[in-house]
């Protein structure tokens, strides 16, 4: 009787120590769910969800402090993907946060630019090149189309340019293929 009590006590102690060590050694830093959510978000960093960027929105979603339908650039596809990941009911995109726009980038009318640098400060991905009192321009490759620079421009010299498919980026229309 005593023997079994001793054996099991030692076993419990040893296993407890192993588990305790493992908990420290293999501790998961941060919330892995945030990364998974962040991977779905379009990284436009536009702030239309009322959070200052995609990652903060992902953090709020992980905590359950935000709805999944607050991201217009992600579109309905994005909402569906979030609903599946978080095992929530699919919602319609909330129109309060804006509507999904076609892929676009912005460009600066370089003749009008006064070099105020306000757009440089507004850009969440540092896609502007310029400095005080010199002409500013956009690196189109880096622009996410968040449009945050448009309202801050005092001379309204920032315009939207839609990204049209080229020979290299063209995708045929699935509905256009004859089907039975």
């Amino acid at each position: 009787m005593m023997e079994s009590v001793v054996i099991f006590s030692i076993l419990t102690l040893v296993l407890g120590l192993v588990l305790g060590y493992a908990a420290l050694r293999f501790k998961v830093k941060g919330n892995p769910l945030v990364d998974q959510i962040d991977a779905i978000l379009p990284q436009t960093q536009c702030g239309q969800c009322n959070f200052p960027g995609c990652r903060p929105y992902a953090e709020a979603l992980a905590k359950g402090e935000a709805q999944i339908n607050q991201c217009p650039p992600g579109g309905q596809e994005g909402v569906d993907a979030l609903a599946e990941l978080l095992d929530l009911e699919v919602l319609e995109l909330n129109a309060e946060h804006g509507e999904t726009k076609p892929d676009h980038v912005v460009y600066v009318d370089e003749k009008l630019c006064i070099g105020c640098t306000l757009c440089i400060q507004a850009c969440p991905v540092d896609a502007f090149v310029g400095s005080s009192k010199v002409m500013t321009t956009v690196i189109a490759r880096e622009c996410t189309g968040c449009d945050l620079c448009i309202p801050v421009c005092p001379v309204d010299c920032i315009y939207v340019r839609e990204l049209k498919p080229t020979l290299g980026t063209y995708v045929p229309d699935l509905q256009g293929i004859p089907h039975g």
Binding site: G53, C54, R55, V125, L167, T169, P172, I177, P178, G180
Partner: protein
């Protein structure tokens, strides 16, 4: 006869056979529309201006990177436009073209004859000449030839593809019958350029005349001319290698990785013209065939000639026509004949307009599996492509699909399977591009956050340091003040003492 053969493929006899494939010369056009972008690589940059007079063979747009190829004026005349024009592409997207209005003289630019025999030129010099002549794969793929030769330097075997890529096309056949001497010479140039010790010219066994004429001129014992069974898709590079050498190039690898260089026979003729005759690529052989023309024939036409003027030579009937660029299997349907011949236009199909076959549901008969030359499961791929499940399609080796269209041909439900596969491939490329862009934006956003944080910290540190320095200075000043005050007090005491003494 080839020792090996590959699985799949279909045998389709030429639907519009001719007695003897000849090449008819088409006179230089009144207007030439020259495309600046080839199938592979970016756009060549125009180096002429509107209104400028150019001579035939003059470079009008130049290469920028490794892949774009030079574009030469195919007629002499005045540049009348540099603008976007419709091009024969399934997307219907317009692309940059240079338009030349002919002066009717067809005056050539001065050609500097190379005084050196090509055997005395280095491989690099020959590749450079090919590059300058603007040669791309003439079989239809349009890959820049100079880049392909460069990649295959030190190849042991050179394969010349004279199999005719699709049923109905006769341009390789006619080219061989017309220019056998030039082709053998071109092969020798190519051997010298890539260093291959052995050459196999592959011709399908239904082209006996072409086979005979090549044999007649082939005195080089390193060049062997072989016949392979007539079967569609034997013109595909990897399958041709399998049929001739029994070597299977694995998925994702290239022929050049295995020391093999494949070139189309049309490309070889262009190389002959460029290296021996110093003439750039300004014309090509085009087959015009189909149910809508009375005389299916081959034409040598200047690049930029409109389809309509070439089709006219083949005596089209009065019916409504469906025009198709390329072969009956892999070609592109285009709305009308107002397009121009580009470097990859090997064939123009002119068919009487017929109602499109009714597409029905897949019945899983798996006929497509037995004909797929790439050993894929097209019916599985079809489901995944249709439901946009790209990940699954990739698992079923979507990327190995050569879009040959054998599956479309045998499908009893008339499903255009290969169109689904090209859609899936394009979608995969799009998703990959988007993923790259999101990763880049995420990285830049995070770096900006880090930068702002760092600036804030640096500023705070700087302020703290300044404050500290100021405090120290004030403390020091305080000490200084004290000694000053002491001095003043001492001086005042001294004055007081003097006054008292005087009194």
């Amino acid at each position: 006869m080839a020792k090996f053969i590959f699985k799949g493929g279909v045998h389709i006899p030429n639907p519009y056979p001719v007695e003897k494939p000849e090449i008819k010369q088409v006179p230089p056009p009144k207007q030439a529309v020259l495309l600046l972008q080839q199938r592979v690589g970016g756009e060549a940059k125009p180096c002429v201006e509107i209104g400028e007079h150019v001579l035939t063979g003059q470079i009008i747009a130049q290469t920028t990177g490794n892949f774009p190829t030079n574009v030469h004026a195919s007629i002499s005349g005045i540049i009348s436009a540099i603008e976007k024009r419709p091009i024969p592409h399934p997307s219907g997207i317009n692309a940059m073209c240079i338009v030349i209005d002919s002066d009717g003289k067809d005056e050539w630019v001065k050609i500097e004859k190379c005084d050196k025999e090509f055997l005395n030129c280095s491989a690099q010099e020959i590749v450079q000449k090919i590059r300058e002549a603007g040669i791309v794969g003439m079989g239809g793929a349009g890959f820049p030839t100079h880049a392909k030769i460069d990649n295959a330097q030190g190849a042991h075997t050179l394969i010349i593809n004279a199999t005719e890529c699709e049923p109905g096309i006769m341009c390789d056949d006619s080219l061989i019958q017309e220019y056998p001497r030039e082709i053998i010479r071109g092969i020798e140039v190519l051997m010298h350029a890539c260093g291959a010790k052995k050459v196999i010219v592959a011709i399908e066994d239904d082209k006996q005349e072409a086979f005979n004429s090549l044999l007649m001129y082939s005195f080089n014992d390193r060049i062997s001319v072989e016949q392979i069974p007539t079967k569609y898709t034997s013109g595909a590079e990897k399958l041709l290698i399998k049929a001739l050498l029994g070597i299977e190039i694995p998925s994702g690898a290239y022929a050049s990785d295995h020391g093999i260089l494949c070139q189309n026979v049309g490309t070889v003729k262009a190389i002959y013209d460029a290296v021996i005759d110093n003439r750039p690529l300004i014309s090509r052989v085009v087959t015009v065939t189909g149910s809508g023309v009375r005389k299916p024939r081959n034409y040598e036409a200047r690049l930029g000639t409109s389809f309509a003027s070439v089709v006219e030579c083949s005596e089209p009937n009065e019916n409504q026509h469906q025009i198709r660029m390329g072969g009956m299997m892999m070609g592109v349907d285009i709305p009308n004949a107002q397009y121009s011949i580009c470097k990859i236009t090997n064939c123009i199909f002119v068919n009487n307009e017929e109602p499109k076959p009714v597409v029905k549901e897949c019945i899983r008969c798996s006929s497509c599996v037995s004909v797929c030359p790439a050993n894929l499961l097209p019916q599985q791929l079809y489901w995944h492509a249709k439901s946009e499940n790209i990940e699954k399609a990739l698992e079923y080796n979507l990327m190995d699909c050569i879009e040959c269209g054998c599956c479309n041909y045998v499908c009893p439900s008339n499903i255009p399977l290969s169109e689904y596969f090209s859609f899936a491939k394009a979608l995969d490329r799009k998703l990959k591009r988007e993923e790259q862009k999101t990763d880049q934006s995420r990285e830049r956003f995070e770096f900006r956050e880090y930068r702002l944080e760092r600036n804030k910290k640096e500023r705070a540190e700087m302020m703290a340091a300044k404050k500290k320095a100021l405090k120290e200075k004030m403390a020091k000043d305080k000490d200084k003040d004290q000694s000053q005050k002491d001095k003043i007090a001492a001086a005042m005491a001294r004055v007081k003492k003097t006054k008292e003494d005087n009194a």
